[in-house]
Symmetry: D2
Subunit: 135 residues, 4 copies
């Protein structure tokens, strides 16, 4: 995997069943994508917005085991494919060797009006360079 970050499960993430409420996982997924842009691509979301954006077009997720208050997840991110204006990412989370969730999502690069736009050359080169490290 290209990029990994730790995520501690906090009180705010957990529901009355004492496990992570699944919409909170999507906040963690977005945090991971945002941190990867910032740290691996060296392009912060604060720089992308408001002239451009990277909304999520689709996302498929499997939750394989519950996470509890105090668990520390390792969330890994890998590039799957790059298109003209799209980017396919795959993320997996595990805790002490147990898979918690896996997700595949597609981002789209858009202008301020939400219209898709080709990735800028420098950013595309950066993403391609990170994809090669994958192999």
């Amino acid at each position: 995997m290209l990029y990994t970050r730790k995520q501690k499960i906090k009180f705010k993430h957990c529901d009355p069943a004492g496990i992570v409420f699944y919409p909170r996982y999507f906040e963690m997924i977005n945090d991971t994508v945002e941190a990867w842009f910032d740290e691996a691509l060296e392009l912060s979301f604060a720089t992308i917005h408001p002239d451009h954006g990277v909304p999520t077009g689709e996302i498929q997720t499997r939750f394989t085991a519950p996470s509890r208050l105090g668990d520390v997840l390792n969330i890994s991110l890998e590039i799957q494919r790059i298109g003209t204006a799209s980017l396919g990412l795959h993320l997996e989370a595990e805790c002490e060797g147990e898979a918690r969730f896996m997700t595949s999502l597609t981002l789209v690069y858009v202008d301020a009006q939400g219209k898709s736009e080709p990735w800028p050359d420098a950013l595309r080169a950066r993403i391609l360079s990170d994809m090669e490290k994958n192999q």
Copy 2:
């Protein structure tokens, strides 16, 4: 569609791009499933918990157009299939005729320890009765 509810897009749902931040859609999706249990199956989440639960095992979502502050979405829910302990649901959201998102998800009926358990007979009968209205 079996069940429909309106969802107004509020300030809290929107991001710096002025559109709904996608993890908030998953809160709306969960609210819709919760309201459907309550109103259509007459089984509130307060009654299910804490002795049982209905965690989401997997979910696949496409976001087809952005939603903005003040939009009123119609979110519809339809049963797709029922298994021994699982339930497949499909939801679609539109605003003034424009599709905003569609999602398919699988719930699992579990006991207090998170172990899957067959749907109770009365609840299964209720779900089957609602599925027939579908056709």
Copy 3:
């Protein structure tokens, strides 16, 4: 009280102790202020933004009894005072006669750069008219 709305306590609001996680109350408070602007002042947050805003400058809250999944709160809002660019509001929430929380907050009318600006005359007149109904 000038304005009242019902708020059902949903699964997403509750923590591992089975009661509302207090930051979620602030979302409900903001939703109530937003709905009051929309319905009582006939000025939607979608119209105010992005040229202006009404950020919260200070807020004081007491939580007097816990709320649980399925509770239906009545949240009431009353104007306390209006300044050149500020507005003092008081909200109270109760469920079946039991007080749940009370809060006093101050909003400020600001321009797109976040600088305070006097309330527009028409809006001030509207707020003053609503204050009179208070008495």
Copy 4:
């Protein structure tokens, strides 16, 4: 100040005005209290719950300047007073020397039924020891 943690402002915290939506600050405040229990008092929220809890009874907050995407806040926590079952805390957040918010809150130690209970002796001793470092 006794305890300090850094908090980066992420996309999920920000509203259509491009600044932190204030209910998200209360999540950050709760995260800080939770981290302080964990790191300074060596008592994790996972250990406290579900037999006990530390709900917030009241909280007073001033927001003195907006925070934007990418800002890194320093959030400091200081004990103000300890009662039989209560604990008064004061937190302040700043970014590059500019104050962003300050808050005073009172926690209560409660049993599983939400009834207040005296702080256990060992925990009280620990808190008192941290208070002395304050001076």
